[in-house]
């Protein structure tokens, strides 16, 4: 029981880090970046190459992977989304799905569909054994990393001028622009941060499930999107809460109900939450002006 809870929290922490990327981009650019999951996959491959082919130590590989994903995120935004800044949200959504398939197919060409065995990069501290429960070092690192990321992001958005600019842009792009805020630069920064986080999520995910294929990112991406919606999209603590709840729910469903049905159960939970509280658990109600 406790074992499932811990592995659920661990998985949920990875979802939470991914969900933070979704939620930030949605909050500021008001778009769903469905390619986010595939940035995770690229992050995984980048770290894999750095670690296995170049033989770099794990911390360097992680930083390398973050740099690659940050650049990728900025490029995706500049090339695919920026030209559509004033287009309908449906056009942007379709583009995001297109970018997602593009990344998957590029990965297929570069790294083929053969699974790569990802070296564990999150086991540099000892595991903890309490009675008959073992908490693996990967689990501990994952949970610590997600907590640090959430605190850092919260501080960033509340205490720095870039963070405040992001919140201003998320509320009223036009007014922010008239106050001298460079909206394009702010959106780029958001994508950079979200993609950098995706790299960390990629490394943590692949360390726990070391089977790297070009579609590695898509399911966790969708789950994390679900988590962001569950917690209230646009809210940083909401993404964290949604991610962990979803991870725990998934692990319990696998353990006590059925491994095959666990995904269905997770999405059913989302539907129920959205029926009861459409804005998500921590989401703010949007009042329509009449």
């Amino acid at each position: 029981m406790l074992n499932y809870l811990i592995s659920g929290i661990s998985l949920g922490s990875v979802y939470a880090i991914i969900a933070l990327g979704y939620t930030m981009v949605y909050g500021i650019a008001k778009m769903l970046n469905f390619a986010h999951g595939d940035v995770i996959m690229v992050g995984g491959y980048a770290a894999f190459c750095a670690g296995t082919y170049f033989g770099w130590p794990a911390p360097v590989a992680v930083v390398f992977s973050m740099c690659i994903c940050t650049i990728l995120g900025i490029l995706i935004e500049k090339l695919a989304y920026k030209p559509l800044r004033n287009a309908t949200s449906l056009a942007v959504l379709i583009t995001a799905i297109g970018v997602s398939y593009f990344l998957q197919n590029m990965a297929l060409i570069i790294w083929t569909s053969n699974p790569k065995a990802f070296p564990n990069m999150a086991n540099f501290i000892p595991s903890i054994i309490v009675g008959d429960i073992t908490i693996s070092s990967t689990t501990i690192i994952t949970i610590i990393a997600s907590v640090i990321i959430m605190i850092a992001l919260t501080l960033f958005t509340s205490k720095t001028k870039m963070g405040k600019a992001m919140r201003a842009v998320s509320e009223d792009k036009g007014a922010a622009q008239l106050m001298g805020i460079n909206v394009n630069a702010t959106i780029s920064t958001t994508f950079a941060i979200g993609s950098g986080l995706a790299a960390i999520a990629g490394v943590l995910l692949c360390s726990a499930y070391p089977n790297l294929v070009p579609t590695t990112g898509s399911m966790p991406g969708i789950k994390a999107f679900t988590a962001a919606v569950l917690g209230g999209i646009g809210s940083i603590p909401g993404a964290m809460l949604g991610g962990i709840l979803l991870g725990v729910l998934e692990k319990f469903a696998q353990a006590y109900i059925s491994t095959q049905l666990s995904d269905a159960i997770v999405f059913a939970a989302l539907i129920i939450v959205l029926i009861v509280k459409p804005s998500g658990l921590l989401g703010k109600k949007i009042q329509e002006k009449v």
């Binding site: 960033f156 205490k159 720095t160 001028k161 870039m162 405040k164 600019a165 919140r167 201003a168 509320e171 009223d172 036009g174 007014a175 922010a176 622009q177 008239l178 106050m179 001298g180 805020i181 460079n182 909206v183 920064t189």
Partner: protein, 282 residues
């Protein structure tokens, strides 16, 4: 500077109109010539010519739908003009976007208040200060001394600006929970924080009671005198307009029908007609 606009002396400037005599050695801070915009086949504003002196308080009045806010949107580059030129502090604003226009020295408030509701009063002002806070991402992430120094400077500056309207004690309140009048004042402070040379106020006195309006008039003068900037305001409250505006521009159906001092405007038959309708029509 005189508090009674009717005592202001004027000089003619080359181009459109006249400016207060005290500003004659400085180039008008805002000049629009032959400015116009069409929406589809509809001409919303046409042949808009003004010059605003460096420390002038100007008023833009006219019946509802005359195009006053459209003029503000043109001046702040929310709309790109179909015709004409806008010179801001000697610079042609052609091709600028709203951010660039703001950085070039124009700031505004909104008719329907557009504060950042989820941010506190101080944070709203700091958004205005954004471009004058001088640190970059790395020093913010690593919390280097530069970050603390600049954040402290921004904090002090924000409180100093809020103090103009005696709002410093409200710094930590959420903008959405301020009373209406205070929200209007905060919008002015936020616009001032961007360090403009011209401040555009869109109906600053809307929803204010007479004593609040009186206070606002004093504050607009105080802003002009403290920061040495020009103010152009749209307002329906004639007591305010006649009380502080040195030059009044009257707009009707997108065209300027009269320009002049408060006394000239009050006695201008065209203005009276625009507001009351010509006799015999009724």
């Amino acid at each position: 500077m005189s508090n009674n606009p009717n005592e202001t002396k004027y000089v003619e400037v080359p181009g459109p109109g006249k400016i207060p005599e005290r500003d004659k050695d400085k180039r008008p801070v805002l000049e629009a010539s032959h400015l116009g915009i069409d929406f589809g086949g509809l001409t919303a504003v046409d042949e808009f010519n003004i010059a605003i002196g460096a420390t002038e308080i100007g008023g833009l009045i006219g019946p509802n739908g005359a195009g006053k806010t459209t003029v503000f949107n043109l001046l702040t580059k929310v709309y790109q003009p179909t015709r004409g030129v806008i010179m801001l502090d000697g610079k042609d604003t052609h091709g600028m976007n709203t951010t660039q226009a703001n950085q070039a020295g124009i700031a505004r408030t909104f008719q329907n208040i557009r504060l950042f509701d989820k941010l506190t009063v101080e944070e709203n002002v700091k958004i205005g200060l954004h471009n004058s806070i001088g640190y970059h991402l790395p020093s913010a992430v690593l919390r280097l001394p530069g970050y603390w120094k600049e954040e402290k400077k921004a904090h002090d500056k924000a409180l100093e600006l809020l103090d103009i309207f005696d709002m410093a004690d409200l710094a930590d309140v959420k903008a959405s929970s301020l009373p209406y009048g205070a929200q209007r004042r905060l919008e002015i402070v936020r616009a001032l924080a961007t360090n403009p040379k011209v401040l555009l106020l869109d109906e600053p006195a809307a929803g204010m009671n007479p004593s609040e309006t009186e206070e606002l008039m004093n504050n607009i003068r105080k802003i002009r005198d403290t920061f040495n900037i020009a103010v152009l305001l749209i307002e329906h409250d004639m007591k305010l307009v006649m009380g502080i505006c040195e030059n009044i521009i009257v707009l009707n159906f997108g065209k300027i029908i009269a320009k002049g001092t408060p006394i000239e405007i009050q006695n201008n038959p065209k203005v009276i007609e625009a507001y009351l309708g010509s006799q015999g029509e009724e």
